[in-house]
């Protein structure tokens, strides 16, 4: 008995904790009863503490998928015909970096930019939430990167106006005619003496000549490298370089050197991109669907509970309570794991709620049978649980495996990677796993504690 009570307390604590996580960060509390009026904006106290020297401040936000908040998804094909096979991975990575950089500058929230290589096909998948002007967004994404070498004008740079604003400072750089076109490749290397990472640039014959001219005349000057109109590095010319191979050294760590190399490679290995697939979803469509689906879900849960209570009486009440625990735990799990909620995901959630009572029904029916066979109540209860467990476990395994194929967690190329399908799979999987816990352990504890006869 004491053990049951302890499990019960654990379940309560778990549910309360999950309830806290599941609560929105800010919500309105309204309640009117005769003379009693409550209208308050409740702000959830933020979780922010230090544990073993690490700051823990989870945000716990329910991420909304593109189909809910509206936006644009584009699948781009990178044309690699001009790029040597060995350089293709780097070129793709560079193209991705460029896109990420541009959409970041454009101020798009949480852009998703992924690469996918499938045989000879090199692709970039871009998801931009909340975009309404698709033409502008496409321009942002589809343009090939512009890499330029610009020399700082000493006179302009020394005038006080140059430091007054960023724009004025940018104005001190002048075109040299040297661009990404003349850059053959960029690689990360390590200085043989110091062991520090350096970046080595290699120019073609035209570039070698141009670079030699620039460096000969401007020792001590600043030759900045601009990407899409913004400087990514501003090295100083130490000595004239006539060989066509330059080295950028400085205070790089390996990570920043890699990053710079990827950006430089975007200029050296420009890949034309072409739109393979595009999907725009208007925000209003998703919003309406979400509201409708949530309402449908609430009606559905109400009906399921009503059915359970009408059919199973007090046990149905306990099963409904377990269902409430289930819903709270599920929502909290979504937030903690950062599940992106899509419309099919909501369908998966509702479906899993419908399935969550399955374990209860199996157990209750089994109990009825044992009771009919004149077994004492406590005995029937335990037998009901014991005998049903095998069926429950066997039956749910099939759903778990199907969900795993849909989620494709290992990113197999031969399986689907569509966000919608995954969204459904993820909510279905989480639903089934949690329902195993609430349907069996939670309900059993409730029954053992509250049902005596």
């Amino acid at each position: 008995m004491l053990k049951q009570l302890r499990i019960f307390l654990l379940i309560i604590i778990l549910t309360l904790g999950a309830g806290f996580v599941a609560l929105p960060n800010e919500f309105a509390l309204r309640f009117n009863f005769r003379d009693f009026h409550l209208d308050k904006q409740v702000v959830k106290p933020p979780v922010d503490f230090n544990f073993l020297g690490r700051r823990i401040a989870p945000r716990w936000e329910l991420k909304r998928g593109l189909d809910i908040q509206g936006g644009m998804q584009v699948v781009l094909q990178a044309n690699m015909s001009e790029i040597a096979v060995a350089d293709r991975e780097l070129a793709l990575e560079s193209a991705k970096e460029i896109i990420l950089r541009r959409v970041d500058m454009f101020g798009i929230n949480e852009p998703l930019v992924q690469t996918a290589v499938r045989g000879e096909d090199y692709r970039i998948i871009v998801e931009l939430a909340g975009i309404s002007d698709s033409a502008q967004a496409l321009q942002l994404v589809g343009q090939t990167a512009q890499l330029e070498f610009k020399l700082q004008n000493q006179e302009k740079a020394s005038s006080p106006a140059a430091t007054s604003s960023a724009l004025a400072w940018l104005g001190t750089f002048e075109e040299t005619g040297l661009t990404g076109k003349q850059l053959k490749r960029s690689t990360v290397q390590f200085d043989q003496n110091t062991g520090e990472p350096i970046i080595s640039l290699e120019f073609d014959s035209e570039g070698t000549k141009l670079f030699a001219d620039i460096t000969k005349d401007n020792v001590g000057g600043v030759l900045a490298i601009f990407l899409d109109g913004f400087p990514i590095t501003t090295p100083t010319i130490n000595s004239p370089i006539l060989t066509g191979t330059a080295q950028l050294s400085g205070n790089f760590d390996v990570e920043s050197a890699k990053q710079l190399n990827i950006q430089l490679s975007a200029g050296a290995l420009p890949v034309p991109i072409q739109v393979l697939e595009q999907r725009n979803i208007g925000a209003s469509l998703g919003q309406q669907s979400v509201q409708d689906s949530i309402r449908a879900g609430l009606v559905g849960i109400g009906l399921v509970m009503l059915f359970m209570i009408l059919y199973y009486g007090l046990r149905g009440v306990l099963a409904s309570l377990a269902l409430v625990v289930y819903s709270i735990l599920t929502l909290a799990t979504y937030k903690i794991l950062g599940v992106t909620l899509t419309l099919p995901g909501i369908a998966g959630l509702l479906l899993s709620i419908g399935m969550a009572v399955d374990a209860n029904i199996l157990i209750f029916e089994r109990m009825k049978e044992e009771l009919r066979a004149n077994k004492p109540f406590a005995h029937a209860l335990e037998l009901g649980f014991g005998r049903s467990w095998d069926s429950i476990k066997d039956a749910n395994l099939a759903t778990i495996m199907t969900a795993l194929v849909l989620i494709n967690p290992l990113n197999f190329n031969f399986l689907n990677t569509s966000g919608l399908v995954r969204g459904f799979g993820v909510t279905l999987l989480i639903g089934v796993l949690i329902s195993l816990f609430t349907g069996v352990i939670v309900t059993r504890t409730f029954l053992r504690l509250f049902l005596k006869k």
Binding site: N280, G282, L303, A347, A395, A398, M401
Partner: protein, 289 residues
Amino acid sequence: MKFKPLYFAISLCFLVPGIISLLVFGLKPAIDFTGGSLIELSGEGLQDNREEIKEQIGDLYEISSVQKSGENQIIIRGKEINNETKDGVIAKLEEKYGEIEEKRFGTVGPTLGKELLIKTLTAIVIVSGIITLYVWKQFSELKYGVSAILAMFHDSLILLGAFSLLGHFYGVEVDVLFVTALLTTLSFSIHDTIVVFDRIRELRHRNQRLNLEQVVSAAVIETLSRSINNSVTIILMLLALVLIGGESIRWFAVALLIGAITGTYSSTFTAAPLLLLWESVRKKFKNRG
């Protein structure tokens, strides 16, 4: 299990029209699989002038259909186009009909559609393969496995047939989500069948004297209320989603609903009778030989 022929007859009532429709009309694949474009627009006067719209923008791109969708909304389908052409189409229509809201736009290249088709077929093969292996492992006797898988096919066929009919009469398309619903149906189907078969096995162990027919009947009766009750809860949930849920996942919910209903029916009224049929056919062969 006296009414075995009746159960098979009911199944056939649902299977035959679907299969005929599949053979005659086939399925209506969405642009996900075929490639092409889809524009959903909302604006006054669009719905009543669908024929004119076809002509007005026909020179901009190749249109296959202009359909009504929601209130004041139309869906234009056609060949794959780019964003610029789409904007051109909307601009041209706005000249005529006033302000138009772009609800949804999608364009898929033909290669990508083909790829997706292969991917989804692979997923179907993998899921049914895993389930077959699993049933085989669970019920080492061949007849259980074969009956469970036949029941699974039964459910898939009914779902496919239903969507073939829906596609022909209501223009419902088969997209990636439909395939997802199909896969979920497979697991539903096996989920319920396993519960029934588990019970048959258990009863056989406990009552060695009863013959298979008696055991199957007893098991079906014992699990029937559970099967029905469980389906009722799932159906309540899905029905709510179909009737008042979001527009954009309506047909997905319908597919899941059909899958849930046929999945429940088939485990009790298809898989279990098939088990008996298998046994009686086997006996006949034995007696003859």
